[in-house]
């Protein structure tokens, strides 16, 4: 009788130990995976290197009159495809832009909202990124600063004219615009723990473009 009780309690202990180990392992894995994503995201912004600037400067200035009727994007990108780079001079950071704003794209960089036009096109092109990785320092960027997007179509320079902080359910940000616009959004407040209730939005208009031939 005692034997059986002992054995069952030993079984129970073994089971508990195994279960506890599993929990520890799972916790470690979960924690490590998320930490990895977080740090990977934080390390995504590349600094705008000297060599790159030089290479850009070396490009011949495109002819003014060449402002073509041509279609900027003969083929539309697929979800998950990298479509270009966002350079924020104020932060000296270059971020990759992926088409789509699902978790898979946002994990890799800045997401381009698929229901909006592509950068450079007339109308509103919407980019979003995680507030705690790629756009950690977006709060430092404000009115008058530039945002430069480079895609297969060329280089587009936008100037921020409005900074908005809106509710997460706001429906007035992703809207059509009568001019080529770039809207960059992230969650707000930046250091909120949990799911942030607001969105930090930069609205910029196209000031110049250098089209690739």
């Amino acid at each position: 009788m005692l034997e059986t009780t002992k054995r069952s309690s030993r079984n129970k202990r073994l089971f508990l130990l195994f279960f506890a180990s599993m929990i520890i392992l799972a916790g470690l894995w979960f924690s490590a995976a998320n930490s990895y994503k977080l740090f990977k995201g934080m390390l995504l912004p590349e600094t705008h290197s000297e060599t790159k600037q030089k290479a850009e400067a070396a490009q011949p200035a495109p002819e003014k009159n060449m402002k073509a009727e041509k279609v900027l994007y003969p083929t539309r990108p697929k979800i998950g495809e990298q479509i270009g780079e966002l350079f924020i001079p104020k932060l000296n950071a270059v971020l990759p832009i992926y088409h789509g704003t699902n978790e898979e794209e946002l994990e890799k960089g800045v997401g381009h909202f698929a229901g909006s036009v592509l950068p450079g096109e007339a109308d509103n092109s919407v980019l979003s990124g995680h507030r705690d990785t790629v756009f950690r320092r977006l709060g430092e960027v404000g009115k008058g600063d530039e945002l430069i997007v480079t895609t297969s179509a060329g280089e587009f320079t936008y100037k921020i004219y409005k900074v908005r902080i809106v509710d997460k359910d706001d429906r007035t940000v992703i809207v059509p615009k009568p001019r080529a616009t770039l809207t960059v959004s992230t969650c707000y407040p930046f250091h909120f723990i949990g799911s942030a209730p607001e969105r930090y939005v930069l609205v910029a208009y196209l000031v110049s473009e250098k089209l690739k031939k």
């Binding site: 506890a20 977080l38 109308d123 990124g129 990785t133 756009f135 809207v175 080529a180």
Partner: protein, 468 residues
């Protein structure tokens, strides 16, 4: 007599740049005028309008301040300012069935405020984009067609409308209300053609000539329903003629002035014309045009030739160098001599520009072709120069130049309008309205923390289990 030097240069310059007008350098006074303009706009708008506002407004049409040669041009382009009491928005209200409250509401739905708008046109285009299509559109369209049919004098169909819209790369679907379609298409040609007088005046045509011009391009007056479409084609057809070569008629007009005022004989005019025609191919060459444009820019730097300003020595040298380049391009040689009391004294260009006035003397201008063949000579007497004649000549030339310029400007304007249209043109790809913003909390940090808590919980269970 610096004026004269300028006029002669301008004459040559004018012929040279006529087919392809150049852009003038931005003037130094531009900034000052811009500030004045901003002040004026601020006063009308009721708040401080800055350079940024202007840049922002221009960006809607893919334009920049730098692309404008003068503040006047900028003002024309930007158009009417929204008055601070909003009194001039009635057209927009009417066209889109709005009032102030619903307009503000509409803008708010698109994350905007009326104060972000300075110019009526910008607001108009935004509203045009934002507003929902009128549910009674089709019915109203039928009424509109009936109305314009009776004005035009023949049945105007949807096909006519579509054809007109296609000229501006527009579709019927781009319009939200029939009133805005009506505004876009503009005035209808009346059946008795009584409202064509504007076109007759502007392009120096009469009905017969207009019909002929259209016929030459395989069109007829009855193909047109709207005045704007007709004018658009008239401009195109006329500018085709302009581009066709060194413009004959204007050249002739100009030379006639010289004939009347300076005693040029018909033979001389013929020779000049023939000379220019013989080098037409050379003149139409890309390099020549570029060289001319370059010279034109250098000329423009002198800012108008009708002001008798004192020139510095280096400016005179620059003028002479420009003058020489013009001679080279036009393959002519020009010599000047002063005829006084029956004797001729050759003048250098430098002397010419320094010549103060002609008293009891005649200035003789000899024009030769490059091969030394005599083309013409002009004789200018002191009396002529000092009388109104010079002024008149200057005016004629200036008028001619302005005519050329106004056609150029019209061309520019229509290009800009086209651009305006393009900027708001319906794109195949559009941004959706009112989508929810993506969730941009990665939660990675939180999750990592949660993970650690789980580990901790695991440890607690582990310890507990060992105790058991």
């Amino acid at each position: 007599m610096k004026k004269w030097g300028f006029i002669l240069l301008a004459f040559i310059l004018w012929i040279g740049v006529m087919p392809k007008p150049s852009s003038a350098a931005q003037q130094a006074s531009f900034e000052k005028e811009l500030n004045q303009y901003l002040e004026e706009v601020s006063k009308q708008r009721g708040f401080k309008v800055t350079r940024e506002h202007i840049e922002f407004s221009l960006a809607q049409y893919e334009e920049k301040i730098e692309n404008f040669d003068s503040v006047e041009e900028l003002r024309d382009f930007l158009g009417e300012v929204i008055q601070k009491d909003l009194s001039n928005l009635t057209e927009i209200y009417d066209e889109f069935n709005l009032n102030e409250a619903s307009l503000r509401q509409l803008l708010q739905e698109h994350g905007e405020d009326l104060d972000e708008y300075v110019f009526v046109e910008n607001l108009y285009d935004a509203v045009m984009l934002y507003i929902e299509r009128d549910p009674n559109f089709d019915k109203n369209l039928q009424d509109y067609l009936a109305k314009i049919s009776s004005i035009r004098g023949f049945p105007v169909t949807i096909d006519h409308i579509n054809r007109s819209l296609s000229l501006y790369e527009r579709k019927l679907e781009d319009f939200k209300t029939v009133k805005s379609l009506e505004r876009f298409l503009g005035e209808v040609i009346k059946k008795d053609l009584s409202n064509l007088s504007y076109i007759y005046d502007e392009y120096d045509l009469n009905e017969k000539e207009l019909r002929q011009l259209l016929q030459e391009h395989g069109k007829k007056l009855e193909d047109y329903v709207f005045l704007d479409d007709l004018e658009e084609d008239v401009i195109t057809f006329l500018s085709e003629e302009w581009d066709a070569g060194v413009e004959d008629e204007l050249l002739y007009d100009l030379l006639t002035v010289f004939e009347q005022e300076y005693g040029l004989t018909k033979e001389e005019i013929e020779r000049l014309k023939n000379h220019l025609r013989s080098i037409e191919e050379h003149l139409m060459k890309e390099e020549t045009i570029i060289a001319l444009l370059d010279l034109a820019d250098r000329m423009m730097a002198f800012e108008g030739f009708d002001e008798a300003t004192e020139l510095t020595k280096s400016q005179i040298e620059e003028l002479i160098s420009i003058f020489k380049d013009f001679q080279r391009i036009f393959k002519i040689k020009v010599t000047f001599s002063l005829v006084k009391d029956g004797s001729e004294k050759e003048l250098s260009l430098f002397d010419l520009f320094n010549l103060k006035e002609l008293i009891n003397a005649k200035l003789k201008i000899n024009i030769y072709s490059e091969s030394g063949e005599f083309l013409a000579d002009l004789l200018i007497t002191g009396e002529i120069v000092d009388s109104d004649t010079l002024h008149r000549t200057g005016q004629t030339i200036r008028h001619g130049a302005q005519e050329a310029k106004s056609v150029k400007q019209e061309k520019n304007v229509s290009q800009k309008i086209e651009k305006k249209l393009k900027a708001v043109k319906d794109n195949e790809h559009k941004t959706v309205k009112g989508a929810k913003l993506p969730k941009t909390d990665s939660g990675y940090g939180m999750n990592a923390m949660v993970g650690l808590f789980i580990v901790l919980a695991g440890f607690l269970i582990f310890r507990q289990a060992r105790k058991v």
